[in-house]
């Protein structure tokens, strides 16, 4: 029987040696193990049936997978060095992806070209758990901006190599890709055009408007209220609202149609995405400029800088980290929102999401959604690093 002292000791042992997040990671991963690792479908649109990890893999691979995963989870639960956790979770993620490919290979019937192997809920949970562990380890190591950019590039190269090697080719999502590769790249390009184009437009309009709001306080509340209202309109409604006026412009303004303005398609999507992005840009520009130390700005005036010189040489560079933060927000937001453009014929990766949803072909949905998430993530990491780099220069 345990004495009170022993209980207290073991409790403090738990507190000292156990990583609370690691316990969560382990719980999620273990739950993932008991859910289907892959899904076997007779064809691409039927629901299909789940297959657990040990049934989907050759025996040797299943044993190796369980042992490997077990050791990663032990590392997750203990308080050990961040580098070790990082390496373990990275290796774990890589292994899960490769195992999914192996499972797809193993399960694919030789003679049945209609059968599909999809990624099961269990795999997703494993990936989620390991990604959680990875990001936690990364953020605890607090890497500098260059390290983050380097890690991102490294991850992209590794993932690109896996895709290129053909290991995952038996997977349903890649079969969906295989049958529409040209369309995929075209819509990806369109998606990027929509996201980056709207961000560029919003920056080009929003930063000057933010500067004007800063200089002329009379404009401030009016502009911010208007943009706030725009933000509250649901995106799909905003697309809809724009159809009528843009169609009218296309029909009545000479030349409008030739530059691509029409009621549906890319133009209303671009306008709506830009409108959504304006508030964060304007607000962050305003906050960045208002937040500058008054002595610095007054010194610039006192030295005899004209108002333009002051803006260009002092205020904008110093406000840049805050402005860039706004741009990061809208870039990530618009990479996601661009998906909806497909609904009004604007194209983008949303095309696959809505096609897939219409056909109940879940892997086609995934073909649109997964790259979108990856793009948003990469954009967040890249811009975050740039912000840190520019803030480094502007520190006081």
């Amino acid at each position: 029987m345990m004495t009170i002292l022993q209980t207290a000791n073991s409790a403090s042992f738990v507190r000292r040696r156990l990583d609370p997040l690691g316990v969560v990671v382990t719980a999620v991963a273990v739950a993932g193990l008991f859910l289907p690792f892959v899904i076997f479908k007779a064809n691409r649109i039927v629901p299909g049936e789940g297959v657990p990890l040990w049934a989907a893999l050759p025996v040797w691979a299943a044993i190796a997978a369980l042992v490997g995963l077990g050791s990663v989870l032990v590392i997750a639960m203990l308080r050990v060095r961040g580098e070790l956790k990082l390496a373990a979770s990275g290796a774990g993620l890589l292994a899960v992806v490769l195992l999914i490919g192996l499972a797809a290979d193993t399960m694919s019937p030789q003679d049945d070209s209609l059968a599909r192997i999809g990624i099961g809920a269990g795999s997703w949970l494993l990936i989620l758990a390991l990604a959680l562990m990875l990001t936690d380890a990364l953020s605890r190591l607090d890497p500098g901006p260059w390290t983050r950019i380097g890690s991102l590039a490294f991850a992209m190269v590794v993932f690109g190599a896996i895709l290129g090697s053909g290991t995952l080719n038996e997977l349903s999502i890649l079969k969906e890709y295989g049958s529409r590769a040209p369309a995929f790249w075209q819509e990806t390009r369109r998606h990027l055009e929509l996201a980056f184009g709207s961000v560029l437009l919003a920056t080009g309009i929003g930063v000057p408007v933010g500067i004007a709001c800063h200089r002329f306080s009379a404009m401030r509340s009016g502009v911010l209220n208007l943009l706030n209202i725009v933000q509250t309109i649901p995106s799909i409604a905003l697309f809809g609202i724009l159809i009528a006026p843009l169609a009218w412009i296309a029909a009545n303004v000479p030349g409008a149609r030739t530059i691509g303005i029409s009621g549906i398609g890319m133009a209303p999507a671009m306008v709506a995405l830009t409108a959504y992005a304006l508030l964060p840009v304007v607000a962050n520009t305003l906050v960045g400029l208002t937040g500058l130390a008054t002595t610095t700005v007054e010194a610039a005036r006192g030295m005899g800088m004209t108002s333009g010189q002051r803006l260009w040489h002092v205020e904008l560079p110093l406000a840049m980290p805050v402005i860039l933060t706004g741009i990061r927000i809208i870039l990530v937001q618009n990479i996601g929102l661009s998906t909806i453009a497909a609904l009004i014929g604007g194209g983008g990766l949303g095309v696959f999401v809505f096609q897939g949803a219409g056909q109940t072909a879940i892997d086609l949905v995934l073909l649109g959604a997964a790259p979108t998430v990856a793009l948003a993530f990469a954009a967040a990491v890249l811009l975050g690093s740039f912000i840190d780099l520019s803030a480094e220069r502007a520190r006081t």
């Binding site: 002595t295 030295m303 005899g304 520190r395």
Partner: protein, 310 residues
């Protein structure tokens, strides 16, 4: 020459500066003193138009400041802002080069000027040129702030508590540097301070402000001896005004004839320091020397007479 005529500045209901008239002669230092909130900064900033007067006018060398574009006016005056105000994203060299760059000096002249100023303020150019303000101590930043104001060799220098963050030793050095620069270039300086010692030490004239009003304007000795109001008397401090008076002159100006024993005192020493030195070493008199040549003596009695109410 800076002529301030009947200048008023109101912020809403408060009159930060209330009908102030003040003449600042060329090549002199005018110290603006007063308690916190008395309107020193506001008055100073009206000279370079960072604040525009509600009424009254200010002329610099005969020209109304409102008749030239503000940025041009400001480039002709050095300005040391309260709390340094260096540009945090620029190197020390670029900070100092601000006004010369705005005036379009060529690169080489600017570089030479920057190094010259860093030297003058005892900051090794090789070490400090490419540092950012964040990598300097508070006192070093303040000196760079003064160097930046001097960069384009202005005739007029407006300084808002330029030595506020310095320890007494560094402050003394910085004051000496300022005095030397002023004598060398004949700069007209308006110096805001709430340190009465600094004002008496550096100012050719002192202007006392209280609640926006100019209470008294005169030479330090005059202000110490004949404070115009109780407020000025309080500001000057009654307990050590004799010492303040002594700190205004140097030994060289008051040599007595005679002989005395012991270590000679330097002629550049203030009377106040000499008095302290005599008391400390227990002597009634000491020789006074300049560059090793004995000029005469100083006596405790003589100093005592000089410290008495004029």
């Amino acid at each position: 020459m800076i002529e301030i005529c009947d200048v008023v500045k109101s912020f809403g209901d408060t009159r930060a500066v209330d009908e102030v008239s003040l003449m600042i002669a060329p090549h002199t230092i005018c110290a603006l003193v007063g308690t916190s909130g008395s309107g020193k900064t506001t008055l100073l900033r009206m000279i370079n138009r960072l604040v525009e007067p509600t009424s009254g006018n200010i002329r610099v060398d005969g020209r109304d400041v409102m008749s030239v574009p503000a940025y041009e006016l400001r480039r002709q005056m050095g300005y040391v802002i309260q709390g340094h105000g260096l540009f945090p994203h620029w190197t020390i060299a670029r900070n100092i080069a601000t006004v010369p760059s705005l005036l379009g000096w060529d690169r080489r002249t600017i570089d030479r000027r920057v190094d010259e100023l860093l030297d003058l303020f005892q900051l090794d150019p090789a070490t400090y040129r490419n540092r950012l303000p964040g990598e300097l101590s508070g006192g070093q930043r303040q000196r760079v702030g003064v160097a930046r104001a001097l960069a384009a060799k202005p005739n007029i220098l407006l300084m808002d508590e330029p030595f506020g963050a310095l320890d007494p030793v560094t402050r003394g050095k910085a004051q000496e540097e300022l005095r030397i620069i002023q004598q060398k270039f004949g700069t007209t300086i308006v110096l805001v301070t709430h340190d009465m010692d600094e004002a008496t030490h550096l100012g050719d004239r002192i202007a006392v402000l209280d609640k926006g009003r100019l209470l008294q304007h005169g030479e330090p000795a005059d202000i110490i001896a004949n404070p115009a109001t109780d407020f000025v008397r309080e500001l000057v401090g009654t307990t050590d005004r004799a010492f303040r008076l002594l700190s205004l002159a140097t030994l060289g100006e008051h040599v007595e004839s005679g002989t005395a024993d012991g270590e000679p005192l330097e002629a550049t020493m203030t009377l106040r320091s000499a008095y302290s030195e005599l008391l400390w070493s227990g002597r009634k008199a000491a020789p006074v020397a300049r560059d090793g040549t004995v000029l005469g003596i100083v006596t405790l009695d003589g100093l005592g007479r000089l410290a008495a109410r004029p």
